[in-house]
Symmetry: C2
């Protein structure tokens, strides 16, 4: 019986994870759940999964919740609540599925306790990859990726040696604007950008998919997660999202992991690894799929992807700056304050002005993140 | 340093294997080579690879060779020579790449010595699958498949558990007649049948690919090699021959092994497993591949494939009868004595008339094979 803690249980990944937990009451129980402000959803989850504690990040929502609920467990609030829970509560696996940089510190607390991390929060590795993987090594914490692409790589690596990899090939759906001309990207609406062809996800990651920044973040994530050379990561566009990613080995053999898109599969695998559980959420029939296509990404049209490769090359805190600037830019795009093509512009302006650190400590990473947000928020309000 | 013995060194698989050996003089040396009658080619291989012995299956060719060669090693002849060599000579890995039923007995000799078998001779497992895999278990002999499909399955299984497999999906190119109408198959020429779109192989296997009997034999091979339930093996047509085969696991995850078609990759892997060697024969670029297609096989048009599923279901010596009848039918087709659509007819007539054994010993298998050939040869001459 494994105790699962879920950071962000009312989000898309969190609810899918609870679907998995629901299927295996003999294997998994819930330690604690956290929500940002969706306390109605949280209340329902509490009734069904009976966690020992909950954390509500939004302090006002936490106050309202406290005075209305008949939940008898511990109720914490704010970012400090997230850290206290990951640092002190009893759990075996932390599903890290907060959105953005907010996931970093609680995840580090779990790593320091040698817990297994089911990692859906890619920003953790983007902003502080080296620090995080070094800590995981030091504290014997297993990081099992939940992103479908990294789960694919992870699954293809089972039984193989990392040093036998010649190349990681991340597949990208290309998002809703794959076939939109560059000059029309300027005028796309928020609604269009939120309309992902294959995956149903939260707003931030869906916009990142539309700009292909999501793939850029994944490139950096793969670089750290698999300690893979920067020149050994390729991106190929594959609009059907059936091949979730591939590894090419030194003998030319390529392994791929495939399925119809459903996040419950990589979530379940991250919980059950090294076992596979007898529950499938997809029914992948190749005769009905018929066609898998592949082509090179357009780095001019999807400048965010190029920027991600650039900051990976620069190293230091540059990926952290890119990540923070991207979070702000996406927020502003969703608020209608900038157009879609201004997202990379905002990021470039931050990278140009915030000083990079060559070998940053966690404190410098947090400072870089703070400075970037401060700078951009000030000038964009 | 591993000593490699190659049954059928002048054939397509044999010469590819020697290409691999040539690339790794520090890892592999040649123990003995065997040819059927191509002694000129064998002479060249002797000069380059310096085996300790050779076997020439055609006795007349062996006599002529003996009187002309300055090779100082042992020269054996005939089927008994093949058996003596595999039974007594010094080697670590036997590459079993004879064509047809002839490969069975020498391969069994190597298994009984606990040698690794790099198995390219699928007829060994088709005709006597249960006997062969039981012997391999008993004598701790590893059977590593060389067929690209089974190598793919084998590679996808590394680090996974056989009991977690929900389905093996063998891919089939569909051969040269994939888009030929059924009614036109009657009139296809030998030359057309020998013109495989993706693979350059020997005549027997190329005709088997054209009739899809090759895939049928592979289904039975997979059934034994992976001890996979008969209802857990699917065939999907994939004309590009890039995805060499796939495994679906109980959690819905599918693993595939891919590359441009080149037999040197699975051959090298069968020699080097569990290592991968740093030499690639393929440069698989997804952006230039662009398109992978899949569809269901047409069992009516490719009746041989259906017959193979049928005999697997029947079990006993039925696959052996099918295999022997198919060898004769292919021979007669190549000689112009029957048309392409008569290949399954010949097989059905044998299955109808030769008595099946339910739990055959090796002797009964050999007898069934002999009887089938005798019957068909008599009436087709």
């Amino acid at each position: 019986m494994k105790k699962i803690a879920i950071l962000g249980s009312t989000g898309s990944i969190g609810t899918s994870a609870l679907d998995v937990v629901r299927n295996f009451p003999e294997l998994y129980e819930v330690s604690f759940l956290t929500a940002n402000s969706r306390t109605d959803d949280l209340e329902k989850q509490i009734k069904e999964f009976k966690p020992g504690a909950v954390v509500i990040k939004d302090k006002l929502a936490a106050e309202v919740f406290k005075s209305n609920t008949d939940f008898k467990g511990i109720i914490l609030a704010g970012e400090e609540g997230l850290i206290e829970a990951t640092k002190n509560f009893d759990y075996d696996i932390l599903l890290s599925s907060l959105v953005g940089f907010a996931g970093l510190e609680p995840t580090i607390e779990a790593i320091k306790r040698g817990k297994r991390i089911a990692l859906a929060n890619k920003e953790t590795l983007v902003a502080a990859g080296e620090i995080v993987v070094d800590l995981a090594d030091k504290y014997n914490s297993e990081i099992i990726p939940v992103d479908s692409e990294h789960s694919a790589i992870f699954q293809c690596l089972v039984g193989e040696k990392t040093e036998d990899i010649s190349k990681i090939i991340l597949t990208a759906s290309g998002g809703p604007f794959l076939n939109t001309a560059y000059e029309n990207l300027k005028n796309v609406t928020v609604k269009e950008a939120l309309n992902h062809p294959n995956w149903s996800m939260g707003a931030k990651i869906t916009i990142d998919s539309a700009s292909m920044m999501n793939k850029g973040l994944e490139v950096i994530e793969a670089h750290w997660l698999f300690r893979m050379g920067k020149d050994k990561i390729d991106v190929v566009v594959h609009p059907q999202s059936i091949v979730h990613s591939m590894i090419e080995f030194i003998d030319g053999s390529i392994k791929a992991q495939l399925s119809l898109p459903d996040m419950k599969l990589p979530i379940q695998y991250a919980l059950s690894y090294p076992e596979r559980l007898n529950k499938s959420y997809t029914d992948t029939n190749f005769s009905s799929i018929k066609n898998l296509t592949f082509f090179e990404p357009d780095f001019k049209k999807f400048e965010c992807l190029k920027l991600a490769f650039d900051v990976m090359e620069q190293g230091g805190a540059a990926p952290c700056i890119l990540n923070a600037a991207n979070e702000i830019a996406v927020e502003k795009f969703l608020e209608g304050k900038i157009n879609f093509l201004q997202i990379p512009d905002v990021i470039k302006s931050a990278l140009y002005r915030i000083e990079n650190y060559s070998d940053p400590e966690l404190e410098s990473i947090i400072e870089c993140d703070r400075l970037t947000r401060e700078l951009l928020k000030k000038e964009m309000n």
